[in-house]
């Protein structure tokens, strides 16, 4: 397991590895959440993009585009509930919070063990993103994963392979590694996990492996 703590400086190589995953939706969500939790500002880059959009040459849309958009808005019906199942997740970075709300409107939370629940954020392009909730003091039974796994602690604290993970800490784990993370007493722990089911991670995780000399 590779553990990267909240306060650890992300070196250029790690940043590059993360950045290279941004074309993948699940990893892009992971990275954006990580950056926000770490207070890494992307303000300049984003403002450059916003200004570039303004200076873009407009291209005409079909004549009924606005009418069709209003029709789609009406088809969408009432706005979905803004109530979160677990209010403690209300402080998450906005993109992750929106993903949680959207997922809660679909399949929602599933119980996968005693005191353990998961929320599927969707599988796209071979990568799966989900949130795992572990009740206070609960241990997730020893397990391995089909694929490799990037895990970011988003709320609470848990103990994993001898190290404590708090919000903003993340780890990378190979498929064969066993682990049994345990939520510390007092509060539930939540992690955002991105797994590859052994499929497509090669680019990014290959790079992680090289970086950390696995």
């Amino acid at each position: 397991m590779i553990r990267v703590t909240q306060n650890a400086e992300l070196d250029d190589a790690t940043r590059a590895a993360l950045a290279s995953g941004r074309a993948q939706p699940a990893l892009d969500l992971f990275i954006e959440t990580l950056m926000e939790m770490r207070g890494i500002s992307e303000t300049e880059g984003q403002a450059i993009a916003g200004a570039a959009l303004e200076s873009e040459t407009p291209v005409d849309l079909s004549a009924d585009a606005l009418a069709m958009t209003f029709a789609a808005i009406e088809r969408g019906g009432a706005l979905p509930s803004r109530e979160m199942t677990y209010p403690e997740l209300g402080g998450l970075p906005v993109r992750l919070r929106e993903a949680v709300l959207a997922a809660e409107g679909k399949a929602g939370w599933k119980t996968i063990g005693l005191g353990i629940r998961s929320l599927d954020l969707g599988a796209v392009g071979g990568l799966k993103a989900e949130i795992i909730r572990v009740a206070p003091g609960t241990t997730v039974p020893r397990h391995t994963h089909k694929g490799r796994e990037l895990t970011l602690c988003i709320h609470g604290e848990y103990l994993d392979s001898g190290a404590v993970f708090g919000p903003g800490d993340f780890s990378y784990r190979d498929a064969a590694e066993h682990h049994e993370p345990k939520a510390l007493a007092g509060a539930p722990a939540y992690a955002l996990a991105v797994t590859d089911a052994g499929l497509k991670f090669d680019g990014l995780l290959g790079m992680f492996q090289a970086l950390f000399r696995l």
Binding site: I48, E54, L66
Partner: protein, 197 residues
């Protein structure tokens, strides 16, 4: 040039007053589902978002579809827009970018070049980011007017089109090393400008 933003010629960024107006319009959509405000936002942004998507390789039909999707999201999520954190343009760009990543993941970009460097702004701790965001929006626009055209192009390719350094090198037919150092220089100049005055 008329009074409304969408009559501005191509290539120009919005003035501070126009940016404030678009923020107001998003507020009107959020608080009272104002269809006229939305129509005005649509008239300005939809053709530009379409242009962005075509630039990234979508065909006409897909681009129209994603534009519609993006604008529906603008309507539904307008309540999340925070004018202290970003301009309407930056906020709508981010919606378009995320939709684009979800919907047409580029199948290229397979193998990673370990030399690859990106396109992440250098990590700046920004505790008072909220206060500074609007100033950044203004200064970025000023810097983009001042920087040499070539450097503005590089910044756009990196941050707007989201191209990696090797993709930019291939596109411009320039050596990778040159592209890397020029992007570093352009971003440093932009940052230096941001620190000015």
């Amino acid at each position: 040039m008329g009074g409304k933003g969408h009559t501005k010629p191509a290539g120009e960024t919005l003035s501070e007053a126009e940016r404030a107006r678009f923020s107001d319009l998003l507020g009107a959509v959020a608080t009272r589902q104002d269809r006229n405000a939305f129509a005005e936002l649509f008239a300005y942004y939809a053709p530009r978002v379409k242009s962005y998507l075509l630039r990234l390789g979508a065909d006409n039909a897909l681009a129209e579809e994603i534009v519609q999707d993006v604008m529906v999201t603008v309507w539904r999520k307008a309540g999340l827009f925070d004018r202290a954190q970003a301009s309407a343009s930056t906020w709508i760009f981010r919606i378009a970018r995320n939709r684009r990543i979800d919907l047409f993941r580029r199948s290229k970009r397979p193998e990673l070049d370990p030399e690859e460097e990106m396109v992440l702004p250098s990590g700046v701790e920004a505790p008072d980011a909220r206060v500074e965001a609007m100033e950044t929006e203004a200064r970025v626009r000023a810097a983009m007017k001042d920087l040499p055209e070539e450097q503005v192009l590089l910044l756009k390719l990196a941050f707007y089109e989201g191209l990696s350094h090797s993709e930019i090198a291939a596109k411009l037919g320039a050596p990778l090393g040159t592209v890397k150092s020029r992007i570093r220089l352009a971003f440093a100049k932009m940052k230096a400008r941001l620190g000015d005055d």
